[in-house]
Symmetry: C2
C-alpha cells in the first residue's frame, strides 16, 4: 500500500465506494444500485463472467463499474490455480479483453491496459505476478480514494451558504458527502435532483443519498429544468462525468448536455466533476452507447406504449467544454 | 346549428374530440385518457360535481377539459327541473363558478363567461334559456370543430416530405390526423415523441395515436432532446398550447419551454398550435398551476423515492414569443 487509508470527514455514502473485496480476495461485494432506495444489498461476485454480468446489467454504474473492473483482476489472481508468471499474465490479458468489451463509452481499456502492463513487467522479471499486480491495484485504488475525498472537499468549497444546487443522475457519493460537510460548516443548502429517466438514478440514488446525509432535496422531472431556471430557483449546477477529454469536453448521462445549454442561457454556473483522460482529444472521439429501446419502453415491468412504437435511448451525451464554468478535477492515474 | 358539420379528410383520432353528448344531453361520455394506451374507455358524467371531478383528476386534459366545461352546461340544462329563465340563469352561474375553480392555468373563466352572457341575454328577453343556450353552445362547438379541422390541414402543409418532427405532450389528435393527411399525400415523415413525465402523455397518448394513424413514431426520454438535436435527428418541432397571449407568448405542458430554448440553440423551426386570447397580455399574466408532489413521487403505484424527499411539479411553463418560428393559430371564439 503506497498511501495510508484516508478517512472521510463525514460518514461515507454507500455509493462513494460501492465495491468491497471480501473472503481474502475471492469475492467482490458489489452494491446492487438497482435495488436502492428499497433495499441496501450487495451482490457477491466470484468470477470473471459474473463481473461482466453485473456491469452489463447496470447493477452498478460509472465509478462502481470502474471498481468492479479493477477488483476483478484481484479475483482472477486469487482464484488462479497456477503461480506461473506467463500463465497469470495470460489470465490477466483474458480478463482485460472480456472487461473491455463489457460496455462501450467507458474507459475500461485504459485502466485494464495499466494492469496488463504491471503483469507484463512482473512476468518479465520472473517476479510473483499475483503479489505484484495485487499490490499495485491496491495502491492505485487507495490513491483514487484519497483524491476523491479531496474532490469532496473541493465541492464543499464551491458550495456557498444559501445555494440552490441542481444535479443530474448521480455522482457516486461525492455530492452527498460534500453536502454533509457543508452542513457541519453551517451552510444552508437546497438540492434539486432530476429524475434521470429511464433509470431514475436521480430519484432513486441521488435523492436517497442526499436525504440520508441530512440534506434537503427536491425531485423534479427532467423536463422541469428550464422552468426551474427561468423562475430563479437554482443558482448552481453540479454534475459528474463518465468520461472527460483533453480539451475539457466530457460525456455524462443523457440529459447533461441540455442542462448545460440551459444553464448557459440563464448564466447559471455549471460545475462538472472530472477525471481527465489525455488519451481522448475531444468529445467527438467519445463513442456513445445506444441502449436497448426496451429499457425506455418498459417501466416498472409494464410497457408504457402500445403498438409499433420505437424507442431511442442514447445512454450518454457530450458536453462541449465551452459550456463548463469550472471542472472540479482529479487525475485517476 | 350555425355551421354544417365538417367531416375530416382522414379518420378521426379519439383524442381529437374526446367528449360526446349522449342520452339526449343527460350524459357526457368523456374519453378516459388515463387508461390509454391500455384501454379505450369512456367515463359517463351526469352531474356538475362529476364533471368537476374528471377535470381535477385529469381524466381528460386541455381540449378535452374545455369540451367538458362547455358540455356540462348542456348537462345542467337537461337535468334542470325548472324552465324559469331566472332559475336557469342561476344554475348556469353556479356551474360557471364551480367549473372556473376546478383548475387554475386554464381559460375556463373566459368561456364560461360567454355561456353566462348567453343565458343572461335569453333571460332578459324572457326567452327559452335552455333552448337558446343549448343552440349557442352547439353552434360554438361546431365552429371550433371546423376551425380545428382547418388547423389540421395547416399542420399538414407545414410538414414536408422527409421531415423528422419532435413533439411534446399531446396535441389532441391534430398532429396525428395531419400525419395521416401527409401519408395520403405521399410524404415520408418520422416523429419523435418525448415521454412527458410525470403523466407520460407523450408515451401513452401521442405514440398511441400517431401509430394508430399509420405514422412512424419513436419515443425518447425528456432528457434526450438536446442530444437528438445536436445529432441532427430532428428538423422541426410542433407543440400545442394550453393558453396563449396577445403578444404571442404561450403556456403549455412543463418541458415545452426548454425544448423551445434548445430548438433556438440549434436553429430548428419551432411551431406551436395556438388559440390566441386577447384577454391575456403576456406570459407573465398566466398563473402556473403547481401540482401535488405525489404525482411526481409515485409512479405506477410505487413510490420512487425513500425518506424525506420533496417533489416540485409545475404543471406548465411559459414560452416567450421570441422562441416561436410560427404560430399555427385558430380563434376559438
Amino acid at each position: 500500500m503506497r498511501k495510508a487509508r484516508i478517512k472521510p470527514a463525514v460518514k461515507e455514502s454507500p455509493l462513494f465506494w460501492p465495491v468491497k473485496l471480501a473472503e481474502n480476495g475471492r469475492c467482490l461485494r458489489v452494491l446492487d444500485e438497482s435495488l436502492i432506495p428499497r433495499k441496501l444489498r450487495y451482490i457477491e461476485v466470484r468470477s470473471l463472467p459474473e463481473a461482466v454480468r453485473v456491469i452489463k446489467q447496470m447493477k452498478t454504474r460509472a465509478f462502481g463499474q470502474f471498481l468492479v473492473v479493477l477488483n476483478t483482476f484481484l479475483l482472477v489472481l486469487a482464484n488462479a490455480k497456477t503461480r506461473s508468471p506467463q500463465a497469470l499474465l495470460s489470465k490477466i490479458r483474458t480478463a482485460a479483453g472480456r472487461l473491455n468489451h463489457s460496455r462501450p463509452t467507458f474507459p475500461f481499456a485504459e485502466v485494464t491496459a495499466i494492469v496488463v502492463a504491471w503483469a507484463q513487467a512482473a512476468a518479465a522479471q520472473k517476479a510473483d505476478v499475483a503479489a505484484s499486480v495485487s499490490k499495485n491495484i491496491d495502491g492505485y485504488l487507495q490513491g483514487i480514494r484519497g483524491r476523491r475525498l479531496q474532490r469532496v472537499q473541493k465541492i464543499a468549497e464551491v458550495l456557498r451558504d444559501g445555494d440552490s444546487v441542481l444535479t443530474h443522475c448521480n455522482v457516486s457519493g461525492e455530492l452527498a458527502m460534500a453536502a454533509a460537510i457543508c452542513r457541519q460548516q453551517g451552510k444552508d443548502l437546497h438540492f434539486f435532483a432530476t429524475e434521470t429517466r429511464p433509470y431514475m438514478q436521480g430519484a432513486k440514488l441521488t435523492c436517497w443519498e442526499l436525504q440520508r446525509m441530512g440534506a434537503q432535496v427536491t425531485l423534479i422531472a427532467d423536463n422541469a429544468v428550464g422552468s426551474l431556471m427561468a423562475d430563479g430557483l437554482v443558482n448552481k449546477v453540479v454534475v459528474g462525468s463518465d468520461r472527460s477529454c483533453a480539451n475539457g469536453d466530457f460525456a455524462n448521462k443523457i440529459g447533461t448536455y441540455q442542462i448545460a445549454v440551459l444553464a448557459e442561457e440563464f448564466g447559471i454556473p455549471f460545475y462538472v466533476l472530472t477525471q481527465p483522460s489525455h488519451k481522448i482529444k475531444t468529445g467527438d472521439d467519445i463513442p456513445i452507447e445506444i441502449r436497448k429501446a426496451k429499457e425506455l419502453l418498459v417501466f416498472s415491468g409494464k410497457k408504457i406504449v402500445s403498438g409499433p412504437v420505437g424507442g431511442f435511448y442514447p445512454g450518454f451525451d457530450v458536453v462541449p467544454h465551452r459550456l463548463i464554468t469550472e471542472a472540479i478535477a482529479i487525475d485517476v492515474r
